[in-house]
C-alpha cells in the first residue's frame, strides 16, 4: 500500500550535490566498457556483412583458424536458433542466423590473442552470399510485394489513439491545414563507444558491458542461451553518452557465443564506425497530418498518420508519442503510427522517441494554424494544450499479458490500488505555468513581432524568436517491472540495490538522495549498486524516463519498509512501546517526532548494534523492499517542457546560429537541480542538433551508412550553443513519484526542435525542412521567394 506524497521541508531532496562519481569522472578513473579488462582475456572481432540482404550460402573459416593466434571462430553454424527479445522491441531476433539483413550485420566472429590478429582473421573468412531482394525505403517496405526482412513480416500493427469524431472536427473548423514532414534518422553518435567482456564457465555466464538496462540484458542472455537467470551475471558498467543506444545489443550476444566457444574471457570492443553504422539509430520517420482550427483559435481536429522504419532488427509496434496528450485540447483526434522493417541498420528508441519527430510535426502544424488565425504561438498553446486534472487522450497504451490496461486495473484489489490518482487523467503539471513564466523571463511579448516577422535585421542577418513545447512519459508499462532493495547495516549505513543505467543522467546520485531523505541519514551514509544483476532486483532499466519516477518510487518504498522495521524495534526496545509511527529519523538519530520536549534519542548504529549483539541476536541487517503496487504510470504522469529560442539566420548562405535560449521544465519536485538542469540543456542540445544538422545518409544502392564518422555527422559543439542559457523549473509535485518527482530526460529534447524551427520561420518568413542545413534553408527561401530583399 503506497502512501501519497506529503509535501514537507526536505533535507536532501533538492540539494545540488555533486554526482557521486564526479571525482572519478574528472580524474579519468571511471571504468567504462572499453576500459574494462579481465585476466587471461582474449579479443574478439566481428565479421560484418557487405550486402544488404542475403542468405549465407557457404562460409569457410579454415584459413582464419589457421592463422597463428586465432582461438576460435563462430558462425551461424554455432548458433542454431538463438533468439532473444529486447524488452522494448528495440532489437530482437536471431543471433547469427545465416541471413544478413543490412550492410554491417554480424555474420561471424573471431576470438584471438590480440585485436590485430582477430582483425586480420576477419579477412580470412570466406563468405559466399546468395543475394536476396532488399528493401531500403520505408514506404516501399509497406507494400504487399515488398521483400520481407523478418520472418514475422515487415509491417507491425498500427497503433492508434482516437477521440471524438474527425468529421465533426472538420465541420467545426474554419480552416483545415495539411502538412507532411520527413525526418532523416538521427545517429546516437555516442561518444564513448562500447565493449563487452564475457566469460562462460560451466553453466555460468558473466558479462561486463556498458548498459542502461542490466536486467533486460540478463533476460536476453537467458532467452538466447536457455541459461537460468540465476546463473547469468550482468555487470552493467557506466556508459558514455547513450540516449538509448546501449540497452542490450546483438554484439553482446555474439561476445557470449565466442566466450562459449573458446572458454576464455572474451572482449569485443567496437570501433566508432561500428557504433555509428552497425548497432542502432533513430528511425527514419514520416508524419502526415491535418489540423482544423476555428477563427477563435480553438483546435477542432488533429489527424495524424506516422510511419517509422524499424531497420533490420527493430520491432516497434508503436512509438510512445505524447504529443497527442500535449495537444489534448483538440476537440477531435486520430493519431496513427505504423512501424515497418527495412534492410537498413536497426533502429530503436532514441531519446524522446516519437516526440522529437511526430511531436515536431504536430507543433509545426499547430503553429501554422495559429498563424492562420493570427494568434500568438504562446497563447495558442495555452488555449489548446492539456491542463492538470484533464483527461488524457492516450487511453489504452499497450496490450499486456493480462489484457489491456483497464482490464489490469479492474483486476486489482482496493487495497492494491488504494489512493491511486485518477486513472487516465493528468495527475500534475502541464505547459501552462511554464509558458507563463517563460514568457516573462524571455520577454516574449516584447520580442515576438508576429508570424514570419524578424525581431531584428542587420544586413543579411535576421533574428527571430520561437517557442516550443514537449511532453513525454515517465516510464512505460504498469506492472511490477521495477524494484529496489535496501539494506541497513550495523553502522547505520545504507546500501541501495536498484537496476539502473549510468549513462550520465545522474540516477545513481538522485536515487541515493531519495534513499537518504527517506531513511533520515546523510547522503555519505548511502551507497548504491546499480549494475550487478547478482544483487539488484530486476527492473526494466533506465529507459523511457523511468528511473527517477518508477525506480525512485521503488527505492523510497524499500526505504520506507526498512525504516518501519527499524522504528518498530526502536519503539519496542527504546521508546516504551510507543506507536512506531510517532518516531522519525533525522541525521541517523531516532527520536520522537514533533515533540521537542521528549529528549530520548538513539542513533541507528547504536540500535543496530544492540540488535546484533549476543543478548538480542534478532538480526544482522534490516532489508527493505517495496510493499505496494505502483500505479500504471502511463495512465496519469507526464513530463513537460517549454523552451524559447532566438536564432540568427544568414539569408545569404543559410547558416543558422542560436543566439539565446531559455528552457523551462516541469518534472515535479527537483531532486537535484544540477543534475536536472544538465538533463534539460542536454535534451535541448540533442533536439537542436537534430533539427539543425544531424541526419544519417544511406547509400541508395545498398543502404550502407555513408556518414559513419563525426567528420560528416555533425554534432553541436560548445561554440554552437549559447553559453549562458537559462533553465527554470516549475515543480508541480506528483502524487506518486518519490517526494513528488517525475521523469525528465526526454521532453526537453522534444521541445527544442519546435522552438528553433519556429524561430527560424519568424526570422525568414518560411518554414524549413529538417535538418535545417544551410542548403535546406536556402532552398526554402528560394522556393518560397523568401524575404523580399535577399541580402548577399
Amino acid at each position: 500500500m503506497n502512501v501519497l506524497h506529503k509535501p514537507k521541508k526536505f533535507k536532501i531532496v533538492g540539494q545540488g550535490i555533486p554526482v557521486i562519481d564526479a571525482r572519478e569522472k574528472v580524474t579519468g578513473s571511471l571504468e567504462y566498457g572499453v576500459d574494462f579488462v579481465l585476466p587471461r582475456m582474449v579479443h574478439g572481432k566481428i565479421k560484418r556483412s557487405t550486402v544488404p540482404h542475403a542468405r549465407i550460402k557457404r562460409i569457410d573459416v579454415t584459413r582464419a583458424l589457421a592463422l597463428p593466434g586465432v582461438l576460435g571462430v563462430v558462425t551461424h553454424e554455432d548458433a542454431p536458433g538463438l533468439n532473444w527479445m529486447g524488452v522494448w522491441d528495440n532489437y530482437r531476433g536471431q543471433i547469427l542466423d545465416g541471413i544478413s539483413r543490412f550492410v554491417g550485420d554480424e555474420v561471424a566472429a573471431v576470438a584471438a590473442t590480440s585485436v590485430e590478429i582477430a582483425d586480420a582473421a576477419l579477412d580470412l573468412i570466406d563468405v559466399e552470399y546468395e543475394p536476396l531482394p532488399a528493401v531500403l525505403d520505408v514506404e516501399k517496405a509497406l507494400l504487399d510485394d515488398a521483400p520481407q526482412v523478418r520472418e514475422e513480416g515487415n509491417v507491425r500493427d498500427e497503433y492508434r489513439v482516437v477521440w471524438g469524431d474527425l468529421d465533426e472536427g472538420e465541420t467545426q473548423a474554419d480552416y483545415v491545414i495539411d502538412q507532411e514532414m520527413r525526418y532523416k534518422a538521427q545517429n546516437y553518435a555516442g561518444i564513448g563507444r562500447n565493449a563487452c567482456i564475457c566469460t562462460w564457465d560451466g553453466d555460468q555466464v558473466s558479462m561486463w558491458t556498458s548498459s542502461q538496462t542490466p536486467s533486460e540484458l540478463q533476460t536476453g542472455i537467458h532467452q538466447a542461451f536457455g541459461i537460468p537467470m540465476s546463473n547469468v551475471r550482468v555487470v552493467a558498467l557506466p556508459s558514455g553518452c547513450s540516449f538509448g543506444l546501449w540497452w542490450s545489443n546483438n554484439f553482446m550476444m555474439v561476445t557470449a557465443l565466442l566466450a562459449r566457444k573458446v572458454r576464455k574471457p572474451v572482449k569485443i570492443e567496437l570501433t566508432s564506425q561500428e557504433c555509428m553504422a552497425a548497432v542502432k539509430r533513430r528511425h527514419i520517420e514520416i508524419t502526415r497530418g491535418r489540423m482544423g482550427v476555428a477563427k477563435d483559435g480553438t483546435l477542432t481536429m488533429a489527424d495524424f498518420s506516422h510511419l517509422m522504419d524499424n531497420g533490420a532488427y527493430g520491432f516497434k509496434t508503436d512509438v510512445y508519442f505524447f504529443c497527442c496528450d500535449l495537444w489534448g485540447g483538440a476537440r477531435n483526434g486520430d493519431y496513427r503510427v505504423r512501424g515497418v522493417n527495412t534492410n537498413l541498420v536497426t533502429s530503436g528508441c532514441m531519446r524522446a522517441v516519437g516526440d522529437i519527430t511526430m511531436g515536431l510535426a504536430v507543433e509545426r502544424l499547430a503553429d501554422k494554424c495559429a498563424h492562420k488565425v493570427n494568434m500568438d504561438p504562446l497563447e495558442f498553446r495555452i488555449k489548446n494544450q492539456i491542463k492538470s486534472g484533464q483527461q488524457l487522450r492516450m487511453q489504452e497504451p499497450r496490450q499486456h499479458m493480462k489484457g489491456n490496461l483497464t482490464d489490469y486495473i479492474d483486476g486489482l484489489t482496493e487495497e492494491q490500488t488504494g489512493n491511486w490518482p485518477k486513472m487516465f487523467h493528468l495527475s500534475s503539471g502541464s505547459t501552462h505555468e511554464l509558458l507563463l513564466k517563460g514568457a516573462e523571463k524571455f520577454r516574449w511579448h516584447e520580442r515576438w513581432k508576429g508570424w514570419g516577422v524578424p525581431t531584428r535585421v542587420n544586413g543579411s542577418k535576421r533574428r527571430g524568436v520561437g517557442v516550443g513545447t514537449g511532453a513525454h512519459c515517465c516510464g512505460v508499462e504498469f506492472g511490477g517491472n521495477t524494484s529496489s532493495v535496501v539494506r541497513l547495516n550495523h553502522d547505520g549505513s545504507v546500501n541501495v540495490f536498484s537496476a539502473a543505467g549510468r549513462q550520465g543522467q545522474g540516477s545513481e546520485t538522485t536515487l541515493v538522495q531519495v534513499a537518504a531523505e527517506e531513511m533520515g541519514v546523510p547522503v555519505e551514509k548511502v551507497s548504491i549498486v546499480t549494475g550487478d544483476t547478482y544483487v539488484v532486483p530486476w527492473a526494466s532499466g533506465s529507459s523511457a524516463s523511468t528511473t527517477m519516477f518508477r525506480t525512485g518510487w521503488a527505492t523510497r518504498e524499500a526505504c520506507r519498509d526498512a525504516k518501519t522495521q527499524l522504528l518498530k524495534i526502536a519503539a519496542r526496545e527504546f521508546f516504551d512501546g510507543i506507536d512506531h509511527e510517532k518516531l522519525d529519523i533525522e541525521d541517523g538519530i531516532i527520536r520522537v517526532a514533533d515533540d521537542p520536549a521528549d529528549n530520548r534519542r538513539i542513533a541507528i548504529d547504536e540500535l543496530m548494534n544492540v540488535l546484533c549483539s549476543d543478548s538480542l541476536s534478532q538480526t544482522s541487517v534490516i532489508t527493505g523492499r517495496p510493499n505496494g503496487v505502483m500505479p500504471p504510470t502511463i495512465a496519469f504522469a507526464r513530463q513537460w517542457a517549454a523552451q524559447f529560442a532566438e536564432v540568427e539566420v544568414d539569408v545569404g548562405t543559410g547558416e543558422i546560429r542560436i543566439t539565446d535560449y531559455l528552457a523551462g521544465q516541469d518534472s515535479g519536485t527537483v531532486m537535484n537541480p544540477k543534475v536536472l538542469k544538465n538533463q534539460v540543456i542536454g535534451g535541448a542540445i540533442c533536439g537542436a542538433g537534430f533539427v539543425l544538422y544531424e541526419g544519417m545518409e544511406f547509400d541508395p544502392s545498398d543502404g550502407r551508412v555513408l556518414n559513419d564518422s563525426l567528420l560528416d555527422y555533425k554534432l553541436l559543439r560548445t561554440g554552437d550553443f549559447p553559453s549562458d542559457p537559462e533553465v527554470f523549473f516549475v515543480e508541480s509535485q506528483d502524487p506518486v513519484g518519490p517526494f513528488g518527482a517525475r521523469g525528465a530526460g526526454e521532453s526537453p529534447a522534444a521541445a527544442a526542435g519546435p522552438a528553433i524551427c519556429q524561430a527560424v520561420h519568424n526570422a525568414i518568413g518560411v518554414w524549413v525542412d529538417v535538418p535545417m542545413t544551410p542548403e535546406t534553408v536556402m532552398r526554402a527561401i528560394k522556393e518560397n521567394e523568401g524575404p523580399k530583399a535577399m541580402a548577399s
Binding site: 586480420a120 548562405t653 543559410g654 544538422y693 555533425k714 554552437d720 548577399s792
Partner: protein, 294 residues
C-alpha cells in the same frame, strides 16, 4: 597481414629525409603531421613499408617574412599559422583560415605541408594560398624546383610531387605593400570541413588602385579553381569603385567558373550559388581591411 606495420624512420635533417626517401622509393611515405595519414592507414587506404617521420626535422618548421615573401616551412603546424597571425595581413588571413580547420588539438599536429600534399578538394588553406599567388618548393635528390601552388595540385589527392621529392616550403612572394586577403566559407558546426569556400587577395598601389587580385574557390572542383574572370573585374579599379555591382559581377564570374559536384555535404547547385555570395563577401572584406589601413 597480421604484421601489417611499417618501419619507422626518424630523420633529423632535410638531407637525411630526402636520402631515406630516395633509398626506399615508393615503399616509403613521408609522415608530416600524419593527421590524414593516420586515418588512411587505419582505414587501410594506404600501404607502405617505411614511414619517414618528419616531425623531428626542425629545419622544416618555420613561418617568417624574409624579403618580400612570406615563407612557411612544410612542417609548420596549422596552429603555428594561427600563432603567427600578426606577422602581416596575409599571415593574418592564413591564421584566420587555420582557426577554421579541424580542432585546436589537431591543429597542433597537422602541418601546412601535409595539408598541401594530401590535396583534398575541400582543403581550407589552398584557396587563400592560391589567391595570394603562393608557390611551393620541392626538393629531390636531383635538386630543387619551385612551382605555383595551383600547378602543384593536380586533382583529388594528386600532386606534382615526383617519387622521391619532398615539399619543403610554401612561399608567398610580393607581400610587401598594401595587401589584404580574406577566406570565407560555408560550414555547419563551428568545427567542419568547408562545404564550399572562396578566397580573395587584393594588392593596391599607393593610389589605392588595385594592381593585383586573386580569387580562388574551394570544394567546387577536384582541386582549387582560380577565377581569372573575377580577378580581371577587380584589377585596375580604384578601391572606392568596388561597389556592389562589381562584387556581384565578380561573384557571378566565380559561379560560372565553378565545376561543383553533389555529395553528402552539399549539392552542386548550392555550391555554385554560394561561391558567388562568398566571393562577393570576401572582396568586400578585403576592401574594408584596405580602407581601414588606408
Amino acid at each position: 597481414m597480421v604484421n601489417r606495420s611499417f618501419e619507422y624512420l626518424r630523420p633529423e635533417t632535410i638531407g637525411e629525409a630526402v636520402e631515406m626517401k630516395a633509398a626506399h622509393g615508393t615503399r616509403a611515405r613521408f609522415w608530416a603531421g600524419g593527421t590524414d595519414m593516420m586515418l588512411l592507414w587505419n582505414r587501410r587506404e594506404v600501404a607502405f613499408d617505411y614511414c619517414i617521420d618528419l616531425t623531428y626535422v626542425p629545419a622544416l618548421r618555420y613561418i617568417e617574412c624574409s624579403g618580400d615573401a612570406l615563407r612557411i616551412g612544410a612542417m609548420a603546424s596549422l596552429d603555428d599559422l594561427d600563432l603567427k597571425s600578426d606577422l602581416n595581413p596575409l599571415a593574418a588571413a592564413l591564421g584566420h583560415t587555420a582557426r577554421l580547420m579541424c580542432t585546436k588539438q589537431t591543429r597542433t599536429i597537422a602541418t601546412v605541408g601535409g595539408n598541401m600534399c594530401h590535396a583534398s578538394p575541400s582543403a581550407d588553406l589552398t584557396p587563400p594560398l592560391v589567391a595570394m599567388g603562393a608557390r611551393c618548393r620541392l626538393l629531390g635528390p636531383d635538386g630543387e624546383r619551385d612551382l605555383p601552388l595551383e600547378d602543384f595540385h593536380l586533382g583529388v589527392n594528386e600532386t606534382a610531387l615526383a617519387e622521391s621529392e619532398m615539399l619543403t616550403e610554401i612561399h608567398v612572394p610580393g607581400v610587401d605593400g598594401k595587401v589584404a586577403a580574406h577566406y570565407d566559407r560555408v560550414a555547419r558546426t563551428v568545427v567542419d570541413i568547408a562545404l564550399v569556400s572562396s578566397a580573395v587577395f587584393i594588392k593596391v598601389n599607393a593610389g589605392n588602385r588595385i594592381e593585383r587580385a586573386g580569387v580562388a574557390l574551394g570544394a567546387v572542383a577536384p582541386s582549387v579553381i582560380r577565377v581569372t574572370g573575377a580577378e580581371e573585374t577587380l584589377v585596375g579599379r580604384d578601391l572606392s569603385n568596388v561597389n556592389n555591382g562589381v562584387t556581384t559581377t565578380a561573384g557571378e564570374e566565380a559561379a560560372s567558373a565553378a565545376r561543383a559536384i553533389s555529395d553528402i555535404r552539399a549539392s552542386k547547385e548550392y555550391r555554385t550559388d554560394m561561391v558567388a555570395t562568398l566571393t562577393a563577401r570576401a572582396i568586400r572584406q578585403c576592401i574594408s581591411s584596405l580602407e581601414g589601413t588606408a
